[in-house]
């Protein structure tokens, strides 16, 4: 055990000193110019103590002194794993669906609100996954299409008084068109260049929303957007329709859930279709795909348009829920966030992305008290993830297995 400890104490001490160096500028330097050390040291000492305990457990484990604990635990874990794998996929799907359906019955307003957020981000994540995970194009301006969808509904509703369900397809289609317009000139580029150009175009769309005062009311945003309307047969005085507004958050949740399920089914089908295979070939090797007869330009544009379409739909829901849109909701940080969800969850994997979204939306809510350190925790999580699960929380199923599935 002493031997094991000797191996790790040096990096530990260096790491802790480094931590102190990083911590102080964050906690000790105040906006008014005063410098303090007290708080830094208390926080630091907590971290040192905490990580020392972890280190101790690690050393004990490495030297095999706590096998009486670890053995049963690892046995239990592997047992749970194998029984989880033995369960067919549909059991998982049904369980998840049932859980989603009963959720608002148990959650309070706040919980439902967070859940709606999660659902909308799942749509965004899955849409971005088509572009990044399947077609392999790094898109850093993705949130702009979410914005286009949201503004489409906001404007059609406030200016022309159109109902949500009428606007929803338009939100998708306009986002799709925006995707094609942005995609057409940019998709000739590859790799890093594409990432930078999409970043630029994303900002351009946001700036248009921000600066076109007559149309979008600029940074003040658009107020007074209608909720989702819902038709119901009215039998009094002949048969007709009556509009009821979806006021209860719980009801909105179900609409968002419906959208999410549709998007999941859509993305899943795309995934296994001829189109999905073409996208994957482009991701793997664009020139080879071209030589094999894949029209890479059209398929890349299609990936971009499809991704934008899903974002547009989610955008309309976003506008209907908030009843207010402003360019602030569609900044680069949001694009980065969605990308993080996709990468964290596992590119190309639908359950992975769902989990990634849940982790990145729900966790910060849980740790709301640590608001100030949110980004710190966020960064640390990403680093730890990349170290231990570089392919994401639930990595995409190996393609080889996918061929198996079909038989």
């Amino acid at each position: 055990m002493i031997q094991e400890f000797k191996k790790v104490w040096k990096p530990y001490v260096i790491g802790m000193l480094w931590m102190l160096g990083l911590l102080w500028p964050m906690l000790g330097v105040h906006p008014d110019g005063t410098l303090t050390f007290q708080k830094t040291f208390t926080v630091w000492s907590y971290i040192v103590a905490g990580s020392f305990v972890i280190l101790l457990v690690y050393v004990l484990n490495a030297s095999g002194s706590i096998t009486f604990i670890t053995n049963p635990v690892s046995k239990a874990v592997s047992g749970a794993k194998s029984s989880a794998q033995a369960m067919p996929t549909w059991v998982w799907i049904v369980t998840a669906l049932v859980a989603c359906f009963v959720f608002p019955q148990f959650a309070d307003r706040y919980g439902t609100d967070v859940a709606i957020n999660v659902l909308l981000y799942i749509c965004l994540g899955l849409g971005l996954n088509v572009v990044v995970g399947l077609a392999g194009m790094l898109d850093l301006g993705y949130i702009a299409f979410y914005g286009v969808g949201a503004y489409t509904y906001a404007l059609l509703n406030t200016v022309y008084g159109l109902a949500f369900w009428v606007c929803l397809p338009f939100a998708g289609i306009f986002a799709c068109i925006a995707g094609c317009i942005v995609g057409y000139p940019t998709l000739r580029m590859r790799g890093d260049y594409l990432a930078i150009v999409t970043l630029g175009f994303g900002e351009i769309i946001r700036l248009i929303l921000n600066n076109w005062m007559e149309l979008t009311n600029g940074p003040n945003g658009i107020l007074g957007i209608d909720r989702i309307g819902w038709f119901r047969f009215a039998f009094e005085g002949g048969i007709g329709f009556e509009t009821i507004w979806v006021k209860k958050l719980g009801l909105f949740y179900y609409f968002a859930l419906g959208l999410t399920i549709l998007v999941v089914i859509g993305v899943n089908r795309l995934n296994f279709s001829r189109v999905g295979r073409a996208w994957e070939s482009i991701r793997e090797d664009e020139t080879a795909a071209e030589l094999m007869g894949v029209n890479t330009f059209i398929y890349k544009l299609l990936a971009y348009a499809m991704g934008a379409f899903f974002a547009g739909l989610a955008g309309a829901f976003f506008a209907a829920r908030m009843k207010f849109v402003s360019p602030e909701s569609f900044t680069f940080l949001e694009s980065a966030m969605v990308l993080c969800m996709v990468v964290l969850g596992g590119m190309g994997s639908i359950p992975g992305i769902i989990l990634g979204v849940a982790a990145l939306i729900a966790l910060p809510e849980v740790f709301r008290e640590f608001e100030a350190y949110r980004m710190l925790v966020f960064g640390a999580t990403m680093i730890i993830m990349m170290l231990f699960r570089p392919a994401g929380l639930i990595p995409a199923k190996r393609m080889g297995q996918r061929s198996d599935d079909k038989e």
């Binding site: 070939s281 793997e284 094999m292 007869g293 190996r398 393609m399 080889g400 061929s403």
Partner: protein, 240 residues
């Protein structure tokens, strides 16, 4: 067959920006023959094939396929016309399974039943691929990847197959195997083959005619057997 070439380049110039890689290349490939193009590293062999497929645009001159100018035809249209390339370095899809690589070879085709049969045929031709059908392409050995690349190209049902350095980085015994298969494909299906090689010996043994390429130009054109006996060629390309 006729004496009309199935593939022809007429005084083709091409390059990468200011770099001129081909300076007036003219070649003819007759239906049903194996033609070898040999040349040192950087001579412009790969560029020749990429220019035929219009991945690299010809700046001057004409590429003719079955008597039709194909300079302006998009690369992805060529497999539908029966012209397919196995690019240098194999370029299989590494994270797709062997079988999915083959399915992608048949991307433009709609005849599902025939595709299934052709995949089976590919496994008969390359039994090792059948054993590895579920394995990711990227985890295959170099020789297996080359076989997969050839099998994938065969899935397009090519009339003309362009092969770019199939021997690159492979052990001699595997190279021999690959060239045997190339000869088989030519003999059994009547597929015309243009093979580009640094390994001049094997390529010329398999071919009926050969071209020698140096710094973007064809410097010599002859029957393969004569090229093999040519002392200059023996010295420059066969290491004697």
């Amino acid at each position: 067959m006729s004496d009309q070439p199935i593939l022809e380049m007429k005084n083709v110039h091409s390059g990468y920006g200011s770099i001129k890689a081909l300076k007036g290349v003219s070649i003819k490939v007759m239906p049903g023959e194996i033609v070898a193009m040999i040349g040192a590293n950087g001579a412009g062999k790969s560029t020749t094939l990429m220019t035929i497929c219009n991945i690299v645009q010809a700046e001057q001159g004409e590429v003719l396929y079955e008597g039709r100018v194909i300079n302006k035809v998009n690369p992805e249209k060529l497999p539908t016309m029966g012209l397919c390339q196995v690019p240098e370095g194999r370029r299989i899809f590494p994270r797709l399974s062997v079988e999915e690589n083959l399915i992608l070879g048949a991307f433009y085709r709609n005849d599902k039943d025939q595709i299934a049969k052709d995949i089976q045929h590919a496994y008969d031709l390359f039994p090792i691929l059948g054993e590895r059908r579920r394995q990711e392409g990227g985890t295959l050995s170099g020789g297996e990847q080359q076989m997969l690349a050839i099998a994938r190209a065969l899935m397009t049902k090519p009339k003309v197959l362009l092969l770019d350095e199939p021997s690159l980085g492979l052990a001699p015994i595997i190279i021999q195997q690959i060239f045997d298969i190339i000869k088989d494909i030519n003999r059994e299906d009547g597929t015309t083959i243009l093979v580009v090689e640094q390994n001049a010996n094997l390529a010329l043994q398999a071919a009926s005619r050969g071209y020698v390429m140096e710094t973007g130009e064809v410097t010599l054109e002859d029957k393969a057997s004569s090229l093999l006996e040519n002392p200059k060629i023996r010295e420059a390309y066969l290491g004697e």
